[in-house]
């Protein structure tokens, strides 16, 4: 048997190594893209009833792609005990969570006379399975919630329809809200907590030790889901929300979405001549922990914002 020359053996080794590395990279990138976009939904294990609240299960379709979304409509409680949906805020949860993420804060809000529509975004909780878009696809869910409140079946027919709709989004839910508010004037005021300015800023912490696979996962997501994170830039649409008021909240110790994201979003929003922007950097709060670190103050500031900015017939209630 004739032994192959050294050069031939080196080339064979190089071809094997490059093949193994290339296929490993491709497989890992595809897997990461599929896993990130399809994380299993977190089950909804509690209801507003556990906070002694009156509520209705609701379901509606996302705008444009008609996915079935499920949620709760929790009417506000007026000082005399009557229920109201005149001012309703749409609450959008963060990634890998569901409509119950901040149910304790929802409870505090409704006790101030503001109704809450909390729902599971696509692929979360009990809503239809669908690829998650880091807030980009989810804007259709928020718009579907607006359509539901304006023209869907009334869960509380005796309470009528909301006269003013606001939004409160957490993390990627905040980004979904920014996109939705930028194109839907029916959303009159928004609170955005811990949202990214551009998805590129969110990718590196999201991938952690696997950041080498970001480019591969990017092209995999483009191919599989039509989602290119480099084009997901809520910062670019912030100025379109004016003159409607915006309240941006961020933890100063956020290692996942850095506080500079809030600064960028605020600066972009203020570029509009009639902008109305407030910011609050919560000391020592990590990602989506502002409501835990500053619980009482968080609720007070949130409710005060909506009390001041969410008008019904030109007046606050």
């Amino acid at each position: 048997m004739v032994r192959a020359p050294v050069s031939q053996r080196i080339i064979t080794g190089f071809l094997i190594l490059s093949g193994i590395l290339a296929f490993f990279y491709i497989i890992a990138s595809l897997l990461l893209a599929i896993i990130i976009t399809n994380r299993p939904p977190k089950p909804v294990t509690t209801t507003p009833a556990s906070f002694g609240l009156n509520y209705r299960d609701v379901s509606f379709l996302s705008r444009d792609d008609h996915l079935l979304l499920r949620g709760w409509l929790i009417p506000g409680i007026l000082p005399d005990g009557r229920l109201t949906v005149e001012r309703t805020i749409i609450q959008i949860h963060g990634a890998e969570n569901n409509r119950a993420q901040v149910l304790d804060i929802d409870a505090a809000i409704v006790k101030q006379g503001i109704a809450v529509l909390a729902f599971d975004t696509r692929g979360s909780g009990e809503s239809a399975p669908a690829p998650k878009g880091g807030g980009y696809f989810e804007q259709r869910d928020v718009l579907g919630a607006v359509d539901f409140l304006r023209s869907g079946p009334m869960s509380y027919p005796d309470l009528g329809r909301p006269k003013a709709i606001g939004g409160w989004g957490i993390s990627v839910g905040g980004d979904a809200l920014i996109y939705a508010a930028a194109q839907e004037p029916a959303i009159k005021a928004i609170v955005v907590d811990s949202a990214y300015a551009t998805m590129a800023e969110y990718m590196e912490p999201a991938f952690g030790d696997f950041s080498l696979f970001i480019p591969g996962a990017r092209y995999s997501e483009i191919m599989l889901y039509g989602l290119d994170y480099t084009y997901i830039r809520p910062v670019d649409v912030m100025a379109r929300i004016a003159p409607r008021p915006i309240f941006l909240i961020q933890g100063s110790a956020d290692t996942y979405i850095r506080p500079s994201n809030m600064t960028e979003l605020a600066a972009a929003a203020k570029a509009a001549p009639d902008a109305h922007v407030q910011t609050w950097l919560v000391p020592d709060a990590n990602h989506i922990q502002a409501f835990q670190v500053a619980e009482g103050t968080y609720i007070d500031r949130l409710v005060n914002f909506f009390n001041t900015e969410l008008h019904v017939n030109g007046n606050t209630l």
Partner: protein
């Protein structure tokens, strides 16, 4: 052309097992520049063809199965990807083995220039395979 094709086919059929001593003289057709390029770059263009086919099937899946039926859409994605990757690994392995065997035969037959060109092209294939990873290291 017809003559060349005929010679090539005969040559392919008469390729001896690599374990046996190589005594036959290969035809001019099989040693032409284009033949060497086609042979050595086969791992690359076969991967490209499989990749394009898989991409087209995924696009068809996305087009015909709406996101409202996402579970089915996703199952088909995964099936296409698994089959595509399996085909790609097999195509890459077989085409590399075939090219290396041919280059070995040329070398033993004293066709050093052809063998060297084939080797250079295979090095290029391996480098191109690594290029996306190297690029990812710098741009991620």
């Amino acid at each position: 052309m017809k003559h060349m094709k005929c010679i090539q086919t005969e040559c392919e059929n008469s390729v001896p097992d690599s374990k046996e001593p190589l005594t036959g003289v290969e035809s001019e057709g099989s040693r032409s520049l284009w033949y060497i390029v086609l042979l050595a770059l086969a791992p690359l263009y076969l991967l490209i063809i499989i990749g394009v086919l898989a991409f087209a099937l995924v696009m068809l899946d996305r087009h015909f199965i709406l996101v409202t039926n996402f579970v089915l859409q996703q199952d088909i994605f995964i099936a296409i990807l698994i089959i595509g990757i399996a085909c790609a690994i097999i195509a890459y392995s077989l085409s590399v083995m075939h090219a290396l065997r041919k280059i070995g035969m040329w070398r033993q037959n004293g066709l050093r220039r052809q063998a060297t060109l084939g080797q250079l092209l295979l090095v290029m294939v391996a480098s191109i395979m690594l290029f996306p990873i190297i690029l990812a290291l710098f741009i991620h």
